[in-house]
Amino acid sequence: MSQAVSEDSPAPAPRSIGPWRAGLGQLLRNPVAVTSFVVLLLIVVVCLAAPIYAGDIAHTNAFQSSVTATTLIDGHRIAVLQQNKSGLGLGVVPIGPTWNFGGYFLGADSQGRDVFARLLYGGRTTLLIGFVSAVACCVLGAIVGLIAGYFGGVVDWILSRLLDLIWAFPVYLLAISLSVVLLTNGLRIGPIDIEPDNLLLPIMIITLIYVPYVARPLRGQVLSLKGREFIKASIGLGAGDWRILRREVLRNILPTVIVFIPLMTALNMLTESALSFLSIGVQPPNASWGTIINDGLDLLYTRPAVALAPGIMLVITAVAFNLLGDSVRDALDPKAKLRGSI
């Protein structure tokens, strides 16, 4: 953990370019921040290389079911899905880890697909969903928080009740209900037609359920900013609402929004995996770490690696994002707190 401790006054003061540069400098000097960033970079690079592993090294297709596939082990051709021949002859077991990058490094899943290749592709999906939905959450949350906090009155009341509604609607219930509807038929709004297996659906669902996490603290921050002298002064000088929002308010809450992004990414990745565990997230044959864990749970007793590997990757990545988020928080806005105080 960083040793940087808040010596700031409770509410953020007006900022100039200075604090940004200072914050970045502090981050670069923080070994925790640098380490987590490097770890994340490594994970991203390895996951981006998924097609290289699948296509050029293991020669496998991570999405095509390969029930009749075979692989070479010690010079012997072996079926990837093996029929149990002992006892009553019940059951078919996929091969376990070969620890050989030539194919089935982590073994096969029940469709005969290479788990390691799926792990890499799954990482791309999980990271993409986590990051995109985190950015979307922060942007949407910032907009809602800004408008509600700044304009107040009826606008605030309506937006706040909407946030209450999403907040009180139990997270998984909301996600499950939305998923059941959306995943059955996809989403059709006018000319936009999103197929049920489109990644946009889980992204939208996760974004929606976590908007209050970001919007509420930001609304509070805007509310307190509004009472501060420099905003009152701008209003007194006759500046337009949008100008004040953009020049003064947004600039002041931006550090908080930036702090939220890595923290929300970690949270959203975990949520994605939980939704996939309940088989309402990413749809097959697409892979994400959550769906691989879910596939792996069906093989937990015979082939635990299938569920353990993506779980460990998920934990490492989420830890790295959380550590990075903490460091960014220390550097930019030590007071920033997500709803739920994470």
Partner: protein
């Protein structure tokens, strides 16, 4: 070996009942004790069954699940029943509450039964002909699932279907309290009427039972057990019916356990562990594939594998593209690698590739295979070349296809295989997994535009029409309805007429009719509205305590014939 032993006990006492159980059961169970004392020694104990979830309403006239039909065998009786014994004899219809099988008039429209005397409900009331008439009226009043598809041949049924509230079945079910006779008058001959009377829907329950689905409140029984309590989130408890005296070894054998409980809520995974550790005696659900090897190797003496008369199949919607094209439909039948699908289901010991709609060992089944590489009467390998040629000929390549499956791992696994295969054939396939509970009705409704779906059909009773007529007749297809069991939406007037003819022939000559059904099966396969995948086998996993396991083709493990001692 259809003998109805009648032991009339002067005193109703549990102990003497138990002794009786031994005598009566020894006739039908060769593996059982050969002396009456051996049987008595096996009575007693509580049988613990586990299931992931409850099977819905407990009302025997409404429930349509194998889960409870299996338990009804030790609880409810109809006029006739499928023999409650293991082995091939289990597909024979035997008299139950009736003294003998019905006298059928020469035109096949009148069935006459004589009710046994002295049988009592678990409430203590004696079973009379009035109860029989009331039970059949109630069948319509509670909207029994097959009221309109099976029992509509009874005179007066049409009026009952229109206005169930005032259902009398006047002239349809006629009772004569003096002679204890009940006569059924039908509007047309029906070779399956006897089988339909043997189904749990036609159980005889007390007259005066409320004319609505009683759900969780148990209805008095006539069999060896009654339902003592039922809470769908917790457990179902069956206890000995003290008014029960066995009247037939085949139809109403005395049960062995003193009590039978089925608890709900464990996952299949946890059920396996519970049975292994002896905390439960039997699991209702299919053991998850992850645990099969363990069961097969470490617990082989506790696992029982039996073939089912059932079919896993793909339904191709013949009314919309691409499967309104026969070449495209046949291409799927050629292309599907049944051995891959068998692997996904759990291996060769659990399933057998299927080529026909009627499963093996089923009336009318003929060993033939229209779609296998190299030809022959059994399936050997897929023929992708032929399939690709047919897709090309159909001009449907490049179209998108949604594959609608249930979202459990086995169904989804097969769905994924299908998506890969369809893509290989040049289509753009996507998988649409739906909750088990809605998929079946979803794929039936034409409004949902389902093109290809994976589903299963398990027999109600052993008759070819229970597969072919139910799944493919024009009458089973209802546009825009959630209840349209002809999922392929296939209606062929010519074959429909052939089925009606075979049905009629069955009244007089069942053997010739079965031959006709065999060729109808073949004709449908040529049109390819369905793609039969495999015939599943059932794994029953029992605890080490359980002895005298017997399998009935009709209702599977005979729960109340199990020995715990």
């Amino acid at each position: 070996m259809r003998k109805a032993k009648k032991f009339l006990l002067p005193i109703v006492a549990a102990i003497s009942l138990v002794a009786l159980a031994a005598c009566t059961s020894s006739g039908s169970t060769p593996s059982g004790g050969s002396t009456s004392n051996a049987g008595a020694a096996h009575a007693g104990g509580t049988l613990h069954l586990v299931a992931a979830s409850a099977g819905g309403t407990l009302d025997p006239q409404v429930n349509y699940t194998l889960q409870y039909w299996q338990l009804y065998q030790g609880a409810y009786d109809g006029l006739v029943t499928y023999a409650r014994v293991g082995g091939s004899h289990s597909e024979d219809i035997v008299p139950d509450l009736a003294t003998a099988l019905p006298k059928v008039s020469s035109d096949g429209k009148t069935y006459t039964f004589t009710l046994r005397k002295g049988i009592k409900f678990s409430s203590g009331k004696t079973v009379t002909t009035a109860d029989v008439v009331a039970s059949f009226q109630r069948l319509f009043k509670v909207s029994s699932p097959n009221a309109g598809s099976w029992y509509n041949v009874i005179v007066g049924a049409d009026a009952c279907l229109k206005t169930p509230g005032s259902c009398t079945l006047d002239g349809g079910v006629v009772a004569d309290a003096g002679t204890n006779q009940i006569t059924f008058n039908l509007t047309q001959p029906d070779p399956e009427f006897e089988a339909q009377l043997a189904m749990p829907f036609a159980s005889i329950i007390p007259a005066g039972t409320a004319a609505k689905d009683l759900g969780t409140s148990p209805i008095p029984t006539t069999g060896p057990y009654y339902f003592a309590s039922y809470a769908p989130t917790k457990a179902l408890v069956m206890k000995r019916n003290t008014y029960f005296k066995s009247w037939s070894a085949d139809a109403a054998p005395v049960g062995y356990p003193d009590e039978i409980d089925e608890t709900f809520g464990l996952t299949a995974e946890a059920e396996v562990t519970a049975v292994e550790n002896g905390q439960a005696d039997w699991m209702y659900d299919t053991p998850p594939s992850d645990r099969l090897v363990e069961i097969s190797n470490k617990y082989s003496s506790q696992a029982h594998v039996n073939p089912l008369t059932a079919m896993w199949y793909l339904a191709l919607n013949t009314n919309i593209a691409p499967f309104n094209n026969q070449d495209a439909r046949q291409a799927i039948n050629w292309a599907v690698d049944r051995s891959s699908i068998v692997k996904l289901y759990g291996g060769t010991s659990l399933a057998q590739p299927a080529c026909t709609i009627l499963p093996p060992n089923f009336p009318g089944h003929v060993n033939t295979c229209a779609y296998t590489k190299g030809g022959g009467s059994t399936w050997k390998a897929p023929d992708l070349t032929k399939a690709k040629a047919l897709v090309a000929a159909s001009g449907t390549a490049g179209q998108s296809i949604g594959v609608v499956v249930q979202n459990d791992s086995v169904n989804e696994g097969i769905g994924l295989y299908m998506v890969s295969l369809l893509n290989q054939l040049g289509y753009k396939a996507t998988l649409k997994p739906l909750s088990d509970n809605i998929q079946y009705n979803y794929i039936q409704n034409t409004g949902n535009h389902v093109q290809l779906s994976l589903t299963q059909w398990y027999q109600d009773y052993p008759a070819a029409s229970d597969f072919l007529q139910v799944l493919l007749s024009c009458a089973s297809f209802h546009k825009g309805s959630d209840s349209s069991i002809n999922i392929a939406g296939y209606c062929n007037k010519d074959l429909d007429a052939q089925m009606t003819a075979a049905d009629t022939q069955g009244v007089t000559d069942q053997k010739a009719a079965n031959t006709a059904w065999g060729s109808i099966d073949k004709a449908y396969m040529a049109e390819s509205p369905l793609v039969p995948l495999f015939t599943p086998k059932l794994v029953d996993f029992t605890s080490s305590k359980v002895k005298n396991y017997q399998f009935s083709a009709q209702y599977y493990m005979l729960v109340d014939q199990v020995w715990l001692k």
